[in-house]
Point group: C2
Chain length 371, copies 2
Amino acid sequence: MKTMVKAPLHAERILMGPGPCNPYPEVVEAFGRPLLGHLDPDFIDLLDETNERLRTVFRTQNQLTFPVSATGSAGMEATIVNTVGSGDTIVIGVNGVFGSRMCDVASRCGAEVVRVDVEWGRAIDPQALLDAHPSPKVIAVVHAETSTGVRNDVAEIGAAKGDALLLVDCVTSLGGIPLEIDAWGIDLAYSGTQKCLGVPPGLSPVAVSTAAIGAFVAKSPSWYLDFAMIADYVTGGSTRAYHHTAPISMIYALHAGLGVLLDEGLENVYARHQACGDRLQAGLVERGFEQFAQEGHRLPELTSVRVPAERLPAGVDEAGVCRLLLERYDIEVGGGQGPVAGQVWWIGCMGHTARQRNVTLLLGALDEILV
Amino acid sequence: MKTMVKAPLHAERILMGPGPCNPYPEVVEAFGRPLLGHLDPDFIDLLDETNERLRTVFRTQNQLTFPVSATGSAGMEATIVNTVGSGDTIVIGVNGVFGSRMCDVASRCGAEVVRVDVEWGRAIDPQALLDAHPSPKVIAVVHAETSTGVRNDVAEIGAAKGDALLLVDCVTSLGGIPLEIDAWGIDLAYSGTQKCLGVPPGLSPVAVSTAAIGAFVAKSPSWYLDFAMIADYVTGGSTRAYHHTAPISMIYALHAGLGVLLDEGLENVYARHQACGDRLQAGLVERGFEQFAQEGHRLPELTSVRVPAERLPAGVDEAGVCRLLLERYDIEVGGGQGPVAGQVWWIGCMGHTARQRNVTLLLGALDEILV
């Protein structure tokens, strides 16, 4: 058995799938910093600064803002299991994989799930969510549906949510498109590091409002994701009660990625994602691809397209083109899943991947492959 | 707001607390490898090889052996929530923090918890666990109790467990002291990366037997930790169903750490931990420290000692000595928690930290500080 460093270096991919994206060089560098213990005062300072940076990017004052020690789906589970249990009603908008996943997670903790389904590729009407139940404890929606490339509008729900808590999946929106946790009345938000933040997967930043904290279930069914216990470590002031060992290296990486983002400026980062997405989508349409997401609700950072069958080389299907992109050009794009498998590609242009040269490369490669 | 790379580099600690330890240089190097997507064939190969290396270190043939995408406590939660639910009985041995935590986790999923308490610092009698209930679904015990430095013997339980499943916390034992998943009849094992494996915290390697798979609850209350779903990704052969995005960089790190360990050889790594622990414990006793763990059950990788009050400098308490070690020498040792707070230190000598020169340094520093 050989150690990894003696093994040949694997390929250097351009990551244009639905995530992860390529990490910023500063993020990779941060992984090399000397390791600190999770109770070291220097690490506590770094964690506090990371959470302050997260507040800036989330656009929130919420004190309980921190990275959950697991990937984005754990952030979904954490926000749900801490707020709904047996006897609670949660309204969930579903127009893709991640809305469906929320229903699965919520039903496992015994909540009554009121599901509002919308055709994949279309946006959810905020009013339909507001009208779905007279007094839900939580209304939940995905801001940027990775599986379809659709943006669901959130602000209108927050403005009219009444006594309900608003829970929003921001996995593919945070740091890529405008998102306003406080101004839009979002009580529970979760994200992932591997999308527009330009950091490898491994953490799920969350932001939790005071109202949400006041409405926590008596005891979270999950010990690992128990927000009340984790808060004693994250926001514990000078004494930090140990809960679990924090994933130190991943927090270094997130801290560095947020630093890159804030140095560039949030507005500039949004503009860069928008410009790359615009050029990519225009270029694909010129080449005969059909956009899957509803016009006016298209995400710049995640493009979903139907591959033009008439342009496929003889004997090569849509999955075969994906393979050629990977093998010849080291470009990863995502093949669709669920109801859109075999029909739709997911092309991400997020974080450090959101550079015009990557758009140029992908379009050039497609020109060489397609007929 | 400045980016991390522009900030002054923080201190380079010798991590001799209860974990994390210092990572192997090869592990740090692995973090720098180009990022792959979680469905990339190259990444799937690397994950398969990581799991094969884990099988070698766990000493198991269990196909369902993989790193849970979160830290050690999530491995604890995962092994419990997939196997016990409402109406199931679990016997849990408690002689420290982590046995207590198992009880908390199991009670949250509605299991009947039969708790076998033993004085902290003493080992648990295997027969007491076997006698605690006539037909438990699971018998659970911590192999290496980090909070006391005690080794609980496991093999006898496995030999006489009957129809029960044996669940073992191997967080601080895996890669540090002999551990035999298959030979000892362990059905569910979980560990952490930041102890004797010499990798930063962030993953929880688990090994699950065929018998345990056959006894899974109908539906795990946790979506994120649902072993039945995760198995489709981890052991899915050529088609890997996406469950959640794997923490790629942490898996690179684990792969590299396991490579270092296997290159050195499991027996040699055990011997290195034993030699460091022996010398550390002898050196501390010579200096008036009193060992907390029961003789014959002392872990070499995690030493718990009472600090000699008569040797403290004027006006400095035991926590003050910890601070001096950190500030003057960049050495982290752990202050006790729970019932032993303020009395006991936890000194880890694990993974890359388990080097004689670190023992020499710590003993030398104590000679300079103590009176």
